[in-house]
């Protein structure tokens, strides 16, 4: 491992102050669980009371029972002491469990809310977000909120109260001795806070670097073929070594900080301890206080260290939870660009006529579609041709209203798609693309996705028409074979046929189709083509066309170029009217024909 220069490391950013507003909103999630929260905090106060009483009582027992030679006092007071401890144990249990229940519920509600929000957000949101990022918000950030609403708040309250109460009790007992002890407090608090503010950002850097390392390993493994084929093993090792060395440097720095922290806190507290023995001892010698009081004081000093240390660690965690909350609320506050308008009604049973009226669509600042006009009659097939980025995909995404046009209207059966409910519209549009998502579950569940009430016969009929029945019944458990995660892996061609079966079962009036076949052998390709033919029959079909047969059979062909319709017509008319079409035809489509 190569050594890495310290100055190459980024400077540690300071933790930002938590936004009170965010915290207010976060604590609002505890409202439905006010009963549990109340019990938890009531128990907490009782525990604190006991914590202050017990050392007092201990000192009293020693002074009265032991030094005062009263064995009978000793007997009952020890029993009372035990009783108090048992009570404290019970209260501790309630405090812990109740605040855990409340905070787990907050996490539960937040996760549900996030998931629900994600399902309602439009495609443009999902285009721009990364799955890993969303997951980390729903999992890690929510965990941080859970920690804040649960243990963190309890600890902060507990620590603060314990400090105050202990200080008061000591002052009442003997203010001089108390001041002596409390003199160490500002030092303790300062040190704990200082550590917290320095350590948290550093540990975040360590975590981040760890994520960098993880990604490095993952990327390397996924690209293992490329690494080997291009003989880049040594370069990869060096690259990893660099990140690894950086991680080590950061961790060593954090280790150094941590190593000093706790011993230093103890040292400060212990010096207070020495002062008590010294000064308190003199008081005893002078007969001003008793030995029992000194012992009680010593116990209090011991009690002070823990809350101070915890506060030092937890207060920065509040800031971190604050930024976690910000990321979560970011999602929750995103308004879906595509949603049912007030008063949207069901579109009813559609015929399948689709019109685009002066439709333009911008993505960011980029105009992806520019004044698109066309009309497809019910049952017609319309083929879209054009290069990547020419706007074909956008046109077909506007029909099921995955996006809303920036200008113009999309009409289905003469109704603007923005005036009807999303559910009624989308449930009548079937989509079969190259990449088909299969969900973890059985083949049957994947075919009935969207049609849970379909009968066995209907399912098999759809699978047969999709040319999928044969390979399904050859699988180990037939239609009950599990696919996806922890199930069998299906080939691209098989997935595509399942998607066709799914669409057939749905029996949509409008169909959106990509006629490319995933890399499959000729036999499979033949089957998929048959399935496509079964699917298209009698439906309004938008097809992103890759093959001549599709283009030839289409009622209309739209040739797209840079967001505009470059030409529109049938195969024959376009051959004479569109140069772009002729070019595509000659270079690509015709070649298939002449070879095949």
């Amino acid at each position: 491992m190569t050594a890495h220069k310290a100055q190459a490391l980024p400077s540690i950013p300071r933790t930002e102050t938590p936004l009170l507003k965010l915290l207010w909103r976060v604590y609002g999630y505890l409202r439905p669980y006010w009963k549990q929260t109340l019990i938890a905090y009531a128990s907490l106060f009782a525990i604190l009371g006991l914590n202050t009483m017990i050392p007092q009582f201990l000192g009293w027992i020693i002074d009265t029972g032991v030094k005062g030679n009263q064995p009978q006092v000793l007997t009952w007071s020890v029993l009372v002491l035990l009783g108090l401890t048992v009570l404290k144990g019970v209260l501790n249990y309630y405090q812990g469990t109740m605040s855990e229940v409340a905070s787990q519920n907050v996490a539960f509600d937040l996760r549900n809310e996030i998931q629900k929000k994600l399902t309602s957000l439009s495609f443009s949101f999902h285009d721009q977000s990364e799955a890993g990022e969303l997951l980390s918000r729903a999992v890690q950030d929510v965990e941080r909120i859970r920690f804040l609403t649960g243990r963190a708040t309890v600890r902060i309250l507990e620590g603060a109260l314990l400090l105050v109460v202990t200080a008061i009790v000591m002052l009442v007992m003997d203010y001089r001795l108390a001041l002596l002890v409390l003199a160490t407090m500002p030092l303790l608090v300062y040190r704990a806070l200082y550590f917290g503010s320095r350590f948290r950002p550093l540990s975040q850097l360590v975590q981040k670097q760890l994520a960098v390392l993880t990604t490095a390993v993952e990327q390397n493994l996924r690209g293992t073929r490329e690494v080997k084929a291009y003989v880049q093993e040594d370069a990869e090792i060096e690259r990893f070594g660099r990140e690894n060395a950086r991680w080590f440097d950061l961790s060593a720095r954090s280790a150094q900080m941590q190593a000093v922290n706790l011993p230093l806190l103890f040292l400060i507290a212990n010096l207070g301890y020495v002062a008590i023995i010294l000064y308190g001892g003199r008081q005893v010698v002078q007969g001003q206080i008793t030995i029992g009081e000194i012992i009680a004081f010593i116990t209090y000093v011991g009690q002070l260290i823990e809350p101070v240390r915890r506060l030092g660690m937890i207060i920065p965690a509040v800031a971190i939870a604050g930024s976690a909350a910000e990321r979560i609320f970011d999602i929750l506050d995103t308004v879906s660009e595509v949603r049912d308008e007030p008063g949207a009604v069901s579109i009813g049973q559609i015929q399948g006529r689709v019109e685009f009226e002066h439709v333009s669509f911008s993505y960011g600042r980029k105009k992806v579609l520019n004044d698109i006009n066309f009309r497809v009659e019910a049952g017609q097939t319309i083929a879209l041709l054009g290069s990547t980025g020419s706007g074909k995909s956008t046109i077909i995404s506007l029909v099921p209203r995955f996006y809303d046009p920036s200008e113009g209207r999309v009409l289905v059966d003469g109704t603007d798609v923005r005036k009807v409910t999303l559910h009624s519209l989308r449930s009548q549009i079937g989509i079969v693309m190259q990449d088909t998502t299969l969900f973890a579950g059985t083949i049957r569940e994947n075919i009935t996705f969207g049609n849970e009430q379909a009968s066995e016969e209907e399912i098999i009929r759809a699978a047969r028409a999709a040319q999928a029945h044969e390979f399904i019944i050859q699988s180990a458990q037939g239609y009950d074979t599990r696919v996806g995660e922890r199930g069998v892996t299906l080939s691209g061609g098989q997935r595509q046929r399942l998607a066709i079966a799914r669409a057939l079962l749905m029996d949509p009036r409008i169909l959106i189709l990509d006629d490319a076949t995933a890399s499959v052998d000729a036999e499979t390709e033949h089957l998929i083509q048959l399935a496509f033919q079964n699917l298209v029959r009698g439906r309004t079909t938008f097809v992103i066309a890759h093959r001549l047969s599709t283009v030839r059979n289409a009622d209309q062909i739209i040739v797209m170029d840079k967001g505009r319709i470059q030409a529109m017509g049938t195969h024959e008319t376009l051959l004479t009217s569109s140069r772009l079409y002729v070019e595509i035809y000659n270079r690509q489509l015709k070649r298939q024909e002449t070879t095949a």
């Binding site: 027992i61 020693i62 032991v66 000793l74 020890v78 002491l81 404290k88 249990y93 469990t97 855990e100 996760r111 998931q115 994600l118 999902h126 285009d127 990364e130 799955a131 890993g132 999992v139 760890l210 993880t214 493994l221 080997k228 291009y230 003989v231 093993e233 070594g241 060593a252 280790a255 150094q256 190593a259 011993p263 103890f266 010096l271 020495v274 023995i277 010294l278 001892g281 005893v284 010698v285 074909k392 995909s393 956008t394 995955f402 989308r426 989509i431 990449d435 088909t436 998502t437 969900f439 995660e485 998607a499 995933a518 890399s519 000729a522 499979t524 033949h526 047969s549 595509i584 690509q588």
Partner: protein
């Protein structure tokens, strides 16, 4: 903007998420395995003296920790009660020195241990990574990426905790415990023995707790993994969910796993909330014993009040080491489980390495010869290539055709020596590829695959991948020849555009164009092309065809053809079926022969028209 219904839009699928957020299926308990321990301890060897110092410091820390209550006892009994102020000053000084020493010793010990631990961790990770680079492709085929990542990242961290902190903490804790017991026995054997009555109860409680807690916390790990898995699936399949209007169903499903997760956590946490108060109560029982009996002894004059106070203090220190040791036991178990996996990975033999005496392969003319090649992926798998022989002359383009599973891709994998053959030989320019170094072989053979992998680095870095020292001009020239320059320049950041994980900000076609540019830059002598034209829109396909023509010029090329349309340009066609060459010849010859080729051809014709 790319539109795709379904289509995993990020590199992260549910399975990866599962692997990343918790290996739910991992065995948490493992048996003690001396070989694994020895192997891992070897990593501590270079840090021998640091460990020795840390050990001495630990002893010092334990000793000083025990000293403080004793000094307090002395202070009370010998100076405060008799009223000896000078003595009190002296003892206070001694205490101060002891506390400062304690600070130095424990800070030093902590720092040394974590430094060593992290150093070992970094070294282990580097060794694992290095080893993974040298492992043959067959290993990577059989192992899920997420699991291997978790070996390198998580398992290693668990071992570290045991190696560095664990061993020494354990020793320290045991010393403290024994020390306390000895001191208490010396000060007052009777009181000590009475106090020890609670010990068996503490051990019992700890044992019962750790037994239940382990399974409860394992349950929480698998439940949170389920939450992550379900959500990851929702996100990657969001387009399908919305397209089929399945939002409600997916919300209900998620709420179910989310609920199970909540319940599992509350259950596991409740266990802790029973355990900790229980230990506290037992601690108070010990205190009560000291007070009740000790108090009587003080009254009776058999022990001093200082002894009793010291006892009270030792009793509270008793429980920390016991809790620590029980926690360590759990750490030990998971570290053993992790350690076994790590050692197994480190010890996985390298199957494909340079033979002894392997020579550098000189720049090849490009003659490729298969001589009675027999190949299977592993000993119990069926034969994939069965006695295949052919010769490709320098500069020729040869097409491999055949149904899925015929062995086309395997042939490509063999030329680059990703796998070794069982019998026969593969020669390039009359040199057996097993007789030359892997690096020199692979520098001359380039594979352009159907689904190229791009790293999440800049476009330029990706093109530079095989030739990191190329200039910007060379990169742009390669991109131009690959028809990629224009679309790259359309991005605001041009060649510096960062490719997102899984290449999602590029279309499939664009990814292929970049991979072609990457191949062009390395100027390979031999090219293997897994026909890359299946999923592309027609116009991009034209671009790719042009780019490939550039790439093929003057090079020996093996094209794995999925579509017969691309076969026509080949100089020679081999038709494979069940691992053997069944036909060969030019397109025309093969059509006339009326064999498998003509059947495949007829199929394609009927579906294409």
């Amino acid at each position: 903007m790319s539109f795709s219904i379904g289509g995993i839009t990020s590199g992260m699928g549910p399975r990866d998420a599962l692997d990343r957020y918790g290996s739910a299926n991992r065995e948490d308990t493992a048996k003690f395995n001396p070989r694994v321990i020895r192997r891992l301890l070897a990593y501590l060897r270079p840090h021998g003296w640091k460990m020795a110092v840390a050990f001495v410091l630990t002893l010092g820390e334990s000793g000083l920790t025990l000293l403080a209550p004793y000094l307090t006892k002395v202070a009370i009994d010998q100076y405060i009660e008799p009223g000896d102020m000078d003595g009190l000053w002296r003892i206070a000084l001694v205490l101060t020195v002891a506390f400062v020493a304690l600070f130095a010793v424990s800070a030093g010990q902590r720092y040394l241990l974590s430094w060593v631990g992290q150093n070992v961790l970094a070294k282990l990770r580097e060794d694992l990574f290095r080893h993974l680079q040298r492992l043959h492709l067959g290993y990577h085929d059989r192992h899920i990426v997420g699991v291997t990542v978790s070996r390198v990242m998580n398992d290693v961290a668990e071992i570290n905790e045991l190696l560095s902190q664990g061993v020494i903490t354990l020793i320290g804790d045991v010393i403290v415990l024994v020390g306390i017991i000895i001191i208490m026995l010396t000060m007052s054997p009777r009181l000590a023995l009475l106090t020890f009555i609670v010990l068996p109860l503490v051990f019992l409680a700890t044992w019962i707790f750790s037994h239940h807690a382990r399974s409860a916390f394992r349950e929480t790990r698998s439940k949170i993994a389920a939450v992550v898995g379900d959500l990851a699936e929702d996100i990657s399949g969001m387009r399908a969910i919305q397209a089929f209007a399945q939002e409600k169903a997916s919300q209900e499903r998620f709420e179910r796993v989310n609920l199970e997760n909540r319940e599992a956590y509350i259950k596991a946490m409740s266990l802790s909330f029973i355990f900790l108060p229980t230990i506290e109560i037992l601690g108070m029982v010990a205190t009560a014993i000291v007070l009740w009996f000790g108090g009587r002894y003080v009254i009776g004059g058999t022990v001093t009040i200082g002894v009793m106070v010291a006892f009270l203090s030792y009793v509270t220190r008793f429980f920390q080491p016991i809790l620590e040791v029980s926690r360590l036991f759990t750490t030990f178990q998971s570290a053993m489980a992790g350690g076994e996996q790590v050692v197994r990975l480190l010890d996985t033999p390298l199957e494909i390495t340079d033979a002894p005496g392997a020579v550098e392969m000189p720049p090849a003319a490009g003659r490729v010869e298969f001589d009675h090649v027999v190949f299977r992926y592993n000993p119990d798998a069926p034969i994939v290539i069965n006695d295949v022989s052919f010769v490709i002359q320098p500069g020729q383009t040869v097409a491999l055709v055949g149904p899925t599973g015929a062995g086309k891709t395997s042939i490509a994998n063999l030329v680059t020596r990703f796998y070794d053959i069982q019998s026969g030989s593969i020669r390039i320019d009359d040199m057996d590829i097993r007789g030359v170094t892997l690096d020199s072989l692979r520098r001359q053979v380039c594979v352009v695959s159907q689904e190229p992998f791009l790293f999440s680095r800049s476009i330029e870095e990706n093109i530079l991948y095989g030739k990191p020292d190329a200039t910007r001009e060379e990169v742009e020239e390669a991109a131009r020849q690959a028809n990629a320059h224009d679309f790259i320049m359309a991005y605001p950041d041009g060649y510096e555009t960062r490719i997102q994980e899984g290449g999602v900000n590029l279309s499939v076609g664009q990814r292929q164009l970049i991979s072609i540019a990457r191949a062009i830059l390395t100027k390979p002598r031999i090219l293997i092309l897994d026909e890359a034209t299946a999923n592309i829109d027609t116009v991009t396909e034209v671009y790719i065809q042009q780019a490939l023509e550039h790439l093929l010029q003057g090079r020996t090329a093996i094209v794995i053809a999925h579509r017969l349309s691309t076969v026509r340009n080949a100089d020679w066609i081999y038709v494979l079926d069940h691992g053997s060459i069944v036909e060969q010849g030019s397109h025309g010859d093969l059509i006339d022969r009326g064999g498998l080729y003509s059947q495949l051809y007829a199929r394609q014709f009927s579906s294409s028209n």
